[in-house]
Every structure is written in structure tokens, then in C-alpha cells.
């Protein structure tokens, strides 16, 4: 407090400066100077493209038009209308919904299970376990895809060998229209649960132990304590985890690119993958419209999840 008043008086004390600028102005200039590199990069490489993408989605811009921008016309909402009749896009949207609605709960369940175990029984080795479960998160998706493609091979892959031991004839995972998507979902859950586990563990450790002890005295069993204490207290953390994971999964792209190339029969084609495809065909206008449709879906999902998981008052 005392220091603050000294600072407020400081300009008066140090009045005669070379440039004649007040300390306040000088500091403001310095602050904007500090902001300059970030701002320049952000405006050029993020804000500009966000707006450009929106504009492009209302035009008929193709890659061949880049040398001759005057040939580009505004076409209004045509690209968006086309989305609704594009079977590949509609299938990609349905696949993406499937991936999100199965993948998010699965990832949360796995992460919560491990986090509860780590929180409850384990004091020694906690750091070791946490590290072990976290490793898939920091592993390149391309490397992960290579390994899983090997694991899931129909004849010689370890997964089907293991199933054979149990008397089950495993499917041709990545070339079977029914099983390709579940395989990608399990892989995504495996890869992403580590991050949620760390988040949930922090949330669990913030729950006061006294609540559990009091409930135990009142005769509540382990399940009742989990349902009545852990889950409600963890609600904000679960919300955060669901939103973050849902936003990530809405954009899933690398898994199908490296594992299945969107197949078989487009059953693992995602919206991001469809954008990438259209970009590859040079249809910049249509790719932009798709990306804005995805952007809107992300914003809507965020709001819906906030509403659903809002603390009940």
C-alpha cells in the first residue's frame, strides 16, 4: 500500500526528464511496444484469415483465381446451400457427431476412473502413474497412428491375436465400415484421457476430506459417497473437461487421415477432413463455408454444454 502511494507520487519527484513525456505516457508507449510483435503476427496470421475465410465463403474463389482476383464473384449463401445437399458433407457431419458423442463420454469415464483411483488409494508412485498415463498425450499423432495401425491389422496384429486366444474372430478393424469408427474412437480416448486425468485429479484433490468422513460416519457407502459428494463437487471440472474434449473432437482430422484416409466408404470422413479434401481440390470458397459451419458448431456446443452442466441453484 505504502509503495503504491510512493509510485503515484513518483512522476512529480522525477519531474525533469530528457524527453518531456510524462512517466504515464512513457509507460503506455512501452506497453504498446511490448504488444507490437504479438499484435502484428496475430492480425496478419489469425484475425485477417478469420475474416478472409468468412468473406471467401460468400464468393466463388477457386485456387485458379488467385492470380486473377477480379474474376471472383460474390455468390451470397450459395456455398452454404450447397453444404445441405452435399452427401459427403452430411455424412462427415454425422460421423463427427458420432465421434464426439461416443468419444467424449468414453474419454471422460476412463480419465475419471484413473483419477479416482490415483486420488483414493495411492500416495507413493502417484507421480509415476500420472506420468505413465500422460505419455500418449505428448506423443505425435502420426506415430500413434502408425503404432495403432500395426496393432489393429486383421491377420497379424496383436489385438486380433489376443482376441483369437479368447476364441473371438476379430474384425478387419480399419477396413470394416462398422468397426473403423469405433477403433478410432478408442484410440482417441486412449490418447486424450491423460490430459483429463491430470485435470480431474486436481479437481478431486480440492474436495474437502471432511465431507467424505462425515458421510462415512452417517453410513454412506463408497458408491453413495461418489454419487453424492464426488460428482456434484467435481461438476465444474467435468464441465471444463467435456467442453475442451468436445471442441477438440469436433475438429478430429489426423486420425482418419493417417489411419483410414476417411474410408471405408467415407465412414470415418470427418468435417475437418472434408475441408481438407475441398482445399486439396482447390475449392477455397466451399472449404471456407465448411470451416465456418464447423466454427458455428463449436460455438453452439460450448454454449449447450455450459447450460447443461450449469450448477443447479
Amino acid at each position: 500500500m505504502a509503495v503504491r502511494t510512493v509510485r503515484d507520487r513518483a512522476p512529480a519527484l522525477a519531474a525533469p526528464r530528457r524527453t518531456g513525456l510524462s512517466d504515464r505516457t512513457r509507460r503506455g508507449l512501452a506497453a504498446w511496444g511490448f504488444a507490437l510483435p504479438f499484435l502484428a503476427l496475430f492480425l496478419t496470421f489469425t484475425a485477417g484469415p478469420v475474416l478472409a475465410s468468412l468473406l471467401m465463403s460468400f464468393t466463388d474463389l477457386r485456387s485458379s483465381d488467385l492470380r486473377d482476383p477480379l474474376a471472383v464473384d460474390f455468390v451470397g449463401l450459395d456455398n452454404y446451400a450447397r453444404l445441405l445437399q452435399d452427401e459427403v458433407f452430411l455424412q462427415a457431419a454425422a460421423n463427427t457427431l458420432y465421434f464426439v458423442s461416443a468419444g467424449v463420454p468414453l474419454t471422460i469415464l476412463c480419465a475419471l476412473g484413473v483419477a479416482v483411483l490415483l486420488d483414493k488409494g495411492v500416495t507413493r508412485l502417484r507421480a509415476f502413474f500420472r506420468l505413465g498415463f500422460y505419455l500418449p498425450v505428448v506423443t505425435s499423432i502420426v506415430a500413434v497412428a502408425v503404432v495403432w495401425r500395426f496393432l489393429l491389422q486383421p491377420e497379424t496384429g496383436p489385438v486380433n491375436q489376443l482376441l483369437r486366444l479368447a476364441g473371438i474372430d476379430g474384425p478387419h478393424w480399419l477396413t470394416d465400415p462398422v468397426w473403423a469408427m469405433p477403433a478410432l474412437i478408442v484410440m482417441a480416448a486412449w490418447r486424450n484421457m491423460g490430459y483429463l486425468m491430470v485435470v480431474f485429479l486436481a479437481g478431486l484433490q480440492a474436495i474437502p476430506r471432511e465431507l467424505y468422513e462425515a458421510a462415512q460416519v452417517d453410513g454412506a457407502g463408497a458408491w453413495a459417497r461418489f454419487r453424492r459428494i464426488t460428482l456434484p463437487m467435481l461438476r465444474p471440472t467435468l464441465l471444463f473437461g467435456a467442453v475442451i474434449t468436445g471442441i477438440g473432437y469436433l475438429q478430429f482430422f489426423e486420425e482418419p487421415l493417417v489411419m483410414t484416409r476417411g474410408g471405408p466408404l467415407n465412414t470415418t470422413m470427418s468435417v475437418s477432413y472434408a475441408i481438407y479434401d475441398q482445399f486439396g481440390f482447390g475449392n477455397y470458397d466451399y472449404a471456407s463455408a465448411m470451416s465456418y459451419a464447423l466454427f458455428v458448431a463449436i460455438i453452439v456446443l460450448t454454449f449447450v454444454q455450459f447450460r447443461l452442466l450449469r450448477p443447479r441453484t
Partner: protein
């Protein structure tokens, strides 16, 4: 009084049934970890197998005749040393840029009272929400207009200063004591000097966390380098591995798994060595 009683009773019960329960928890965790870790085990062991052994039924856990042929092929016949160097150049530049630029703005937002501060912070928070898919197409058009397609600079520039880094640095620097900075201002030190001499040394844990996070995400980044790199000389490791794994070598799993090891091991080493800072980084930004 009641709390004390309950604690005593709870403690008693826990001690009686504790042994078995702790055992069960450890066993469950060990099994879960073995399942979660098995892809890494297969990756490592497969990378030392010959193509014939990798196709054998039933599969072998450890290679019968461990061979370095897969690694030899990666580094001698294929151009993996170059891809490795490309990955290092891009990752190093992006990490350095984020450390410098994000901490500069982070300091300004945390400790300087200036007009526009609130708006600038709101801008950073909004930037956090923009998904990559939305900027992707115009960004490529921009990069190609700048003549940066198939250059390292084209891979580096768009990611040189991310909003996440600004947010992380701002959070940490806000927690540093005002007194030190105010005292330096009273002594007539300029903002640049305060930043370089006082804030940077004090913010070292946050810089370490930001450095690791940026290193990891850039090293693993795939889509943008894939689009910008057109010739083999510019491939980063993930791009090269992805293109090999869908090209003519796609069934040569020994070779591909060795490639995966080369991509994964450097980050695992960095991560395990520095994970202390990493956990701090997650805590620092309030969950993320």
C-alpha cells in the same frame, strides 16, 4: 468435536480394511497402465524386428534376432537426418518466438497500467477460441502470396506468438510482487530494463512451462507443415512419417515403427526430464 471423532473413527476403519483396498487400487492401476502403455512397448519391440518376424503368428513380444536394419534404412536410405533437422529448426524458432513475444506482452498486461490494456486482454482471450480449421485456407493463400510455400519461414511465422503463451505468462507475472517493479520504477529504470532484468529472471518457472508446451505441440504439429512443405527437403518428421505410412512402404511395419520411435523418443525425453515444470504450467493457468 464431531469432526475429530469422525476423523478418529474413519482412520480406524481405514486401517483395518486399508491393506486390501490399497492392494486392489494398486493392482487396478498397474493393469490400466500396462494396457495404456502396451502400444509403446509394441512400438519399441517392433522397431527392432525384421519384416518376416513382424508378420509371424503368434507374434513375439521381444524380437528373436534384434536388428538395427530398420533404423539403418531410415537414416541411410531415407532422409531422416534431414527431417530431424527440419523439425528442430521449426520447433526451435517457434519456441524461441513464443518465449520472447508472449512474455513481453504478458508483462505489459500484468504489470503496466496503460490505455487499451483491457481490450488487448479480451483480444487475447478471444484468440484462444479460434479453431485452426477456420484460418487454414486463407492462411495458405496468404503464405503462398508471400512466396513462403515450401519454406521453413512459412511453417514458423503463423505460430511465432500464440495467445495461449500470452495468457500463461500474464497469469504468472500477475502473481509477482508489485513492490519490486515499483521500486525499480522509482529508481528511474525503463520498462524494457525492468522486463529484462527483473521480470524475466523471476518468471523462469513460467518460461520453462511455456517452453515445454510450445516445444511439444510444435514438434508434433502435422497439418500445417504437411501443407506448406512441398518438396522432400522441407519435410518435418511427422510429415515424413505420415507420407511414408500411406505410400509404398505402408505395410513395412518394422520400418514405420522405427520411424515412430524417432519421432516420439525426443519428446518423451524432454517431457520426462522437465515434467516438474509441465505440471506447474497446467496448475498456473488454472486447469489449462
Amino acid at each position: 468435536m464431531t469432526a475429530a471423532v469422525s476423523r478418529a473413527r474413519g482412520g480406524h476403519r481405514a486401517r483395518r480394511s486399508g491393506g486390501n483396498r490399497v492392494w486392489a487400487v494398486y493392482t487396478a492401476l498397474a493393469i490400466a497402465l500396462a494396457v495404456a502403455g502396451s502400444p509403446f512397448a509394441w512400438m519399441l519391440s517392433g522397431s527392432f524386428k525384421t519384416d518376416a518376424e513382424i508378420r509371424r503368428i503368434p507374434p513375439t513380444w521381444l524380437p528373436d534376432q534384434a536388428t538395427l536394419d530398420n533404423y539403418r534404412e531410415l537414416f541411410e536410405r531415407l532422409d531422416f537426418p534431414r527431417y530431424f533437422a527440419n523439425s528442430l529448426i521449426v520447433t526451435g524458432a517457434v519456441t524461441a518466438g513464443n518465449l520472447v513475444f508472449c512474455s513481453m506482452l504478458g508483462y505489459a498486461l500484468a504489470k503496466i497500467d496503460f490505455p487499451g490494456r483491457q481490450a488487448l486482454f479480451a483480444l487475447v482471450m478471444a484468440a484462444l477460441m479460434v479453431p485452426g480449421a477456420v484460418t487454414f485456407v486463407p492462411l495458405f493463400v496468404l503464405i503462398s502470396n508471400l512466396g513462403l510455400v515450401d519454406t521453413h519461414l512459412g511453417m514458423i511465422l503463423p505460430f511465432l506468438a500464440g495467445p495461449f503463451g500470452v495468457f500463461l505468462m500474464r497469469q504468472y507475472i500477475s502473481g509477482l510482487p508489485d513492490e519490486v517493479i515499483d521500486a525499480a520504477r522509482v529508481d528511474g529504470a525503463g520498462e524494457l530494463r525492468i522486463f529484462a532484468r527483473i521480470v524475466v529472471p523471476l518468471a523462469r518457472p513460467a518460461l520453462a512451462a511455456l517452453g515445454i508446451l510450445t516445444f511439444l505441440s510444435t514438434w508434433n504439429s502435422f497439418l500445417w507443415p504437411l501443407v506448406v512443405a512441398q518438396s522432400e527437403e522441407r519435410y518435418t518428421l511427422p510429415v515424413a512419417l505420415a507420407l511414408y505410412s500411406i505410400g509404398q512402404n505402408q505395410t513395412r511395419f518394422g520400418l514405420l515403427l522405427a520411424g515412430a520411435v524417432v519421432v516420439v523418443v525426443p519428446v518423451l525425453v524432454v517431457f520426462v526430464a522437465l515434467q516438474r515444470f509441465f505440471v506447474q504450467g497446467i496448475a498456473m493457468t488454472g486447469l489449462k
